[in-house]
């Protein structure tokens, strides 16, 4: 289901992602050179494999997952503004991370607690929406808003009790998102889970499109709307949670990447879903490169996803408006 144009765009997307990934491998505080790496400098190799490589592929896969999940949310909710926030994932993850920062001290605890927070939020949202037997997608959005508000309240309470010098600062920093601190020891399970979810979502593309119709209409086309929607949303959300619990909140990619892809291809085929992922990955890696190179200290990555993303979106809107 790829048109020639979409194929070209996807190839360009892959090249862009690969180029940015290559740059990302060699940008950072500790300068690396290909020559030194090849000559077997032990320190250089360690930095390359444990820090740069893992950071780069978390950026690529994470951005890819956020972009793809955004595509899924927008299609299934039939709402161009739908994003992981809609069903409370992000705020659940934030509250979980804050709890982890306050009450746990083991390494990697924040990843686990934010993942648990995100998952809890999603389970509550989908559980609440299952109470409404008519199973409208609006119910999920409403339940999501309620859980989002609740998680925000919990987050505020946690912030109030936090020690303002250290804990509060790390909560705020987490919420702004960063790929800093990612190394080959901390990512294992999350990335596997994320790849697994993506591997499930892509073959289901035709079903995801069928979910974009009206409830009754989809059902009469033989779609088991209730359980399929639940499954697809849960899978997309797991992918997002597994990324966000590693990196902290990353704004805008889930919203921007799918819109960018659709403005380029003008359809919703599987190729467009792939392109959403590629744009998401490129955006996150691009933002991360800037986050660690423009200032002496690392900056939160969300600043740059918005900074890069907003003009890109405006450019695409301008371009498609001009064509009319």
């Amino acid at each position: 289901m790829f048109t020639v144009k979409t194929k070209t765009l996807c190839v360009m997307g892959i090249i862009l992602l690969a180029a940015l990934a290559a740059v990302s491998l060699f940008v950072g505080k500790y300068p690396l050179s290909i020559k030194e790496l090849l000559s077997g400098n032990e320190l250089q190799r360690r930095v390359f494999w444990t820090l740069r490589a893992s950071r780069t592929y978390v950026g690529a896969i994470g951005g890819f997952a956020l972009g793809t999940a955004g595509f899924v949310y927008q299609t299934v909710f039939r709402n161009p503004l739908a994003a992981p926030d809609v069903i409370g994932v992000s705020s659940g993850a934030s509250a979980g991370a804050a709890a982890g920062i306050l009450f746990l001290s083991e390494a990697g605890a924040v990843t686990v607690s934010s993942f648990a927070g995100a998952l809890l939020a999603v389970v509550v949202v989908l559980g609440l929406s299952a109470l409404d037997r008519s199973g409208k997608s609006n119910t999920i959005v409403l339940a999501g808003i309620a859980v989002h508000a609740l998680a925000q309240t919990i987050l505020m309470c946690l912030k109030l009790t936090a020690d303002p010098e250290r804990q509060l600062a790390s909560i705020e920093y987490w919420i702004m998102g960063s790929l800093n601190g990612i190394n080959s020891y901390s990512i294992g399970g999350n990335i596997l889970l994320c790849l697994l979810c993506l591997g499930i979502l892509f073959p289901l593309h035709r079903q995801i499109i069928l979910l974009s119709g009206e409830e009754g209409e989809s059902r009469m086309l033989g779609v088991n709307v209730g359980s399929l929607r639940l499954f697809v949303l849960l899978t997309a959300t797991l992918a997002v949670s597994s990324v966000v619990s590693l990196t902290g909140l990353i704004s805008f990619i889930g919203l921007l990447a799918p819109h960018g892809a659709r403005l380029l291809t003008k359809d919703n085929r599987q190729g467009t879903m792939l392109l959403s992922g590629l744009l998401g990955g490129s955006l996150l890696i691009g933002a991360d490169i800037l986050a660690r190179s423009v200032a002496a200290s690392e900056l939160p990555v969300s600043i740059f996803t918005s900074l890069l993303g907003a003009p890109f979106l405006i450019l695409l809107i301008y371009r498609s408006a001009k064509k009319l």
């Binding site: 073959p203 069928l210 009206e214 009754g216 009469m220």
Partner: protein, 261 residues
């Protein structure tokens, strides 16, 4: 035993019944029209029959209860065309038509080349050839209805439920739509339930008509055999004072026309 039988169908929204205890039957090959004023329960009845709305009573198609079928089997037997399709994303016309094959495809399967071929043919039948790659959302409302009709024909259902399929169509395509349905019905083992606004179309194309008023059945008429007086009496109750007459066009075909007095 008739092809399709509905017994004591009651349905409504939020506990308020819109249609109450409706019973009727439809024969094999019948184009069965449902006439009624706005709000008389036509759409509710169709939605109840295909199980989108919870309802009391039962629908039996060829001896099998629709209510007891699995969703997948139901979607193979019975196809529903809403007044407006809810498709709201950019998608090609052909892809919309291919959705009709979903009841016959596995979860991860894609439509085969033969199915695509059939999709093209269905689009040709409804007069949308050459528009396969167009964006569905850029079609006119009438073309959208034709596209959805093509999708329905691909689904191979035995019972079609069409909710005002002619509402957005121009003069020419209103007849074309009903002619397509008549051709489709000419194979055995099929029937269609159609709600219509236009009494002319109902009286001239349908085999039987069910007249609804405020959720109850006023009566049924067979336009081909019933006398004009009989039909007038029933139609008066929906439309106010009307008169029917038979006219012959230049080709010698007889039409029934309805005039408001």
């Amino acid at each position: 035993m008739s092809f399709f039988t509905a017994t004591n169908i009651s349905a409504g929204y939020d506990g308020k019944p819109i249609v109450e205890r409706l019973s009727f039957f439809v024969d094999d090959g019948c184009l069965f029209g449902i006439l009624g004023a706005n709000g008389s329960g036509k759409t509710t009845l169709l939605k109840a029959v295909c199980g989108i709305l919870p309802h009391a009573g039962s629908c039996v198609l060829e001896g099998e209860m629709l209510e007891k079928m699995s969703p997948r089997k139901l979607s193979r037997c019975c196809s529903y065309i809403p007044q407006r399709s809810g498709i709201s994303i950019d998608i090609s016309v052909l892809d919309v038509v291919l959705m009709g094959f979903n009841p016959w495809l596995g979860l991860l399967e894609h439509p085969s080349a033969a199915m695509k071929e059939e999709g093209h043919r269905a689009l040709g039948l409804v007069g949308l050839e050459g528009k396969e790659e167009n964006n569905y959302l850029t079609l006119s409302e009438g073309q959208k209805q034709l596209c959805i009709l093509a999708r329905t024909l691909c689904g191979k259902a035995k019972l079609l439920l069409l909710d005002e399929p002619e509402s957005a169509l121009d003069f020419r395509f209103r007849f074309r739509m009903l002619e397509i349905l008549q051709i489709w019905l000419s194979d055995s083992g099929k029937a269609a339930l159609v709600t219509l606004h236009d009494p002319y179309l109902a009286l001239n194309y349908c085999d039987r008509l069910l007249l609804l008023s405020e959720g109850k059945i006023l009566g049924t008429i067979c336009p081909k055999t019933d006398s004009l007086d009989q039909m007038e009496k029933l139609l008066d109750q929906i439309y106010g004072k009307i008169s029917l007459s038979r006219l012959t066009d230049r080709s010698g075909r007889e039409h029934i026309v309805m005039l408001k007095e």
